[in-house]
């Protein structure tokens, strides 16, 4: 009796497996014979639906970008034209904000990845469990605090009556403006992006066996050379992923430029909101969004090409393949 029930338990499928089997069986019953080969791919349907919705949204945005706002009725024209794109060229604010967004995002990306690398490396390689826990704790705490709260925290630190000015005041310095400068925007964004970058780079470093670094040192490489010629090349997939994630999040950021820039250092997203809501021109706002998406996509493609995308998309690293 006991043996029987034990055997039943052993061979019983978990409920979710049975559920999945049932769904696949339903699909195979409903689908045409030729379509049955596609059964395993039905699980991609939710992801495709999500991407499809985004695609529809982008298509509508693209469509609106070619329609001019009729200010006598505040509706978009039924005919297509390039008026909105021409207006983007007419006002210098668009060029200024696009250039600022790209340059600042590049600065944020380089700074963030440069800071994330040693953080991730230390977190992975440290021998001390306490140190690792502390680093993990510091990494995850910001995720529990939204961007707005973090932005206001920086106001307390960098404001005219903030901690930094208080500190300099001890040495007789007059309060000076740190907040509402380009530097403040970059500081806020780097702090916001750092956990994302560390989380992307850490798995890549984990996948590098410690023995490889020891071998490099055994062959006479000092730690700098080991990092430069062994760790960085092998961690490239993680570094490139972090670069892309941080750059795309930065170039589309709204909160930090708004809170830390004092209205003088807008990014594209800030301007998009002003156009959609402030002057109610959906066509012009859509044109700016299309330009932003096109520009961001071009830069991300350039990053992929510059870092050899085949390496990044490879399932296993070189080391994993070579080592038993």
């Amino acid at each position: 009796m006991n043996a029987n029930s034990h055997s039943k338990k052993q061979f019983a499928y978990p409920l979710k497996w049975r559920l999945f089997d049932a769904i696949e069986a339903i699909f195979e019953t409903v689908a045409l014979p030729k379509m049955r080969a596609a059964t395993p791919y039905i699980w991609l349907a939710p992801a495709l639906a999500l991407i499809g919705l985004l695609g529809v949204g982008m298509f509508l945005m693209l469509d609106a970008s070619f329609r001019e706002l009729d200010r006598s009725t505040f509706t978009l024209s039924s005919t297509y034209s390039l008026v909105n794109y021409a207006r983007l060229a007419d006002y210098s604010v668009f060029k200024a904000v696009l250039v600022r967004s790209v340059l600042a995002s590049l600065v944020v990306t380089v700074t963030t990845v440069a800071l994330a690398l040693p953080y991730a490396y230390t977190m992975v390689r440290t021998e001390g469990a306490r140190t690792r826990k502390l680093l993990l704790f510091c990494l995850f705490v910001p995720f529990f605090i939204g961007a707005v709260v973090r932005g206001y925290s920086w106001v307390i630190v960098l404001g005219r009556e903030g901690l930094v000015n208080d500190f300099f005041g001890l040495f007789g310095f007059e309060p000076f403006r740190i907040l509402f400068t380009p530097l403040a925007v970059v500081i806020g964004m780097v702090q916001y992006m750092l956990p994302f970058a560390v989380l992307m780079i850490a798995p890549a470093i984990t996948s590098i066996p410690k023995e490889v670094e020891l071998a490099a040192e055994g062959l006479g490489a000092n730690w700098r050379r080991t990092i430069w010629e062994v760790v960085l090349p092998l961690a490239k997939p993680g570094i490139v992923s972090a670069t892309i994630v941080v750059f795309t999040l930065s170039i589309t950021d709204y909160a930090m430029p708004y809170m830390m820039g004092g209205g003088m250092y807008d990014f594209v997203s800030n301007l998009v909101v002003d156009i959609f809501l402030g002057i109610s021109d959906r066509g012009l706002g859509a044109a700016l969004v299309v330009v932003l998406v096109a520009l961001g996509s071009l830069i991300v493609t350039a990053i992929f090409l510059a870092f050899d995308y085949r390496t990044i998309l490879r399932k296993k690293t070189f080391i994993n393949k070579q080592l038993p």
């Binding site: 505040f74 604010v93 003088m264 959609f276 109610s280 012009l284």
Partner: protein, 373 residues
């Protein structure tokens, strides 16, 4: 059919509203109006709830305490505030109307120039039959649009706000103080350009009547102003930055800083000799509701504009009401940024919504082009 029914059917809607309001006023005067009773007794079926879009914080609190709660007491209709940003609400209403859906709010508390866009778009119910219009000042009723698509309960002035401790000789007399190098990095203006574009025009010697055709002097002034490295934000940003001691001068509405002054803060305001830009907020009812809901939404607007609610609401907002019976509180007597008399109103200037709305996108983009380089 009773005689009362026959009379009711033959009354025009306007007559009906007028007589209802007169009855309500009469009943109120004799203390006869009881909660949920006679004033609206013979009116269309009441909805359970009305939704009103409102600015958040103290603005929403003022409307709730002085208008919405009182309206609920009188009618039994629950009033719920929706704090969606006004410009965003406008697009939501337009989208709902385009798709034949019910709009998200019954009453939109909006900026009058933005409401003008909705009026032109055909989104607003005509309020022309509201009896309270007869009790409102001329500035409460929009011009240049068909009918009365919205009503302005008050006006506000983009005044020059300053720290008295930084001006020992008294209030600055001119907007040119915005170009004073000693205040570099210590000035706040609006991120949209609202108020500052208009102030720059008169500060630079231009005329309001020259707008929109000849504004070069104003743009040149703004280009100089850009060198002052000001902070640019919305109303609430200005208040926050003032409290954080990030600025000594600001261009804003006084109701955003009256609390600071009342608590003894280092703030005062003035209208410079060149004058200051004044404009309105408003209430409007979107088209697309069932007849009874539209009716009660209009009653809400009517109630908000009547003497006592208008006085109480505007007092809470620290803004001059536009009901003819409005009386300025003592603390704002002779305050040029709180104009109630004809003499005071001469010191401020309005731009017709038609001009403002038609050219607003050009002005904003030009302003931003100057400020963002």
């Amino acid at each position: 059919m009773t005689r009362k029914d026959i009379i009711f059917l033959h009354q025009s809607r306007r007559d009906f509203l007028t007589s209802s309001a007169k009855l309500a006023g009469l009943a109120g005067a004799f203390g006869l109006v009881q909660p949920h009773t006679s004033a609206f007794a013979a009116e269309p079926e009441k909805p359970g709830e009305l939704f009103v879009r409102a600015w958040g914080g103290a603005w929403s609190d003022a409307l709730k305490q002085k208008v919405s709660d009182e309206f609920s007491k009188l009618t039994g209709i629950t009033v719920t505030h929706d704090n969606t940003y006004h410009a965003e609400m406008k697009t939501k209403i337009w989208e709902a109307q385009a798709q034949n859906r019910t709009p998200p709010v019954h009453i939109n508390w909006d900026v009058s120039d933005i409401a003008y866009e909705s009026a032109v778009h055909g989104a607003c119910v005509d309020l022309a039959d509201l009896p309270v219009i007869a009790d409102m000042k001329a500035a409460a009723v929009p011009v240049g649009v068909t009918g009365v698509p919205y009503l302005n309960p008050y006006l506000y002035v983009y005044a020059l706000i300053y720290r008295p401790s930084k001006f020992p000789d008294g209030a600055p007399k001119s907007w040119k103080v915005l170009l004073d190098p000693q205040f570099k990095g210590r000035i706040v203006a609006t991120s949209s350009g609202n108020g500052i574009i208009h102030a720059a025009q008169v500060a630079a010697g231009g005329k309001v009547s020259d707008m929109p055709d000849n504004m070069q002097a104003g743009w040149d002034f703004i280009a100089e102003f850009r060198k002052q490295n000001p902070l640019l934000g919305k109303d609430e940003d200005m208040t926050k930055w003032w409290e954080q001691n990030e600025a000594d001068i600001a261009l804003n509405i006084i109701s955003n800083v009256t609390d600071i002054r009342d608590k003894g803060g280092d703030v005062a305001w003035t209208v410079p000799d060149e004058g200051a830009y004044a404009t309105n907020d408003c209430l409007w009812v979107p088209k697309g509701f069932p007849e009874n809901e539209e009716y009660w939404a209009k009653q809400y607007v009517n109630f908000a504009m009547t003497k006592d609610p208008n006085q109480n609401w505007c007092d809470a907002l620290a803004l001059p009401g536009l009901n003819k019976g409005f009386v300025a509180p003592a603390k704002f007597k002779d305050d040029p940024a709180y104009p109630t008399t004809d003499e005071q109103l001469k010191k401020v200037f309005f731009i017709p919504s038609e001009i403002q709305v038609k050219h607003w996108d050009e002005w904003v983009l030009k302003y931003k082009s100057i400020m963002n380089i």
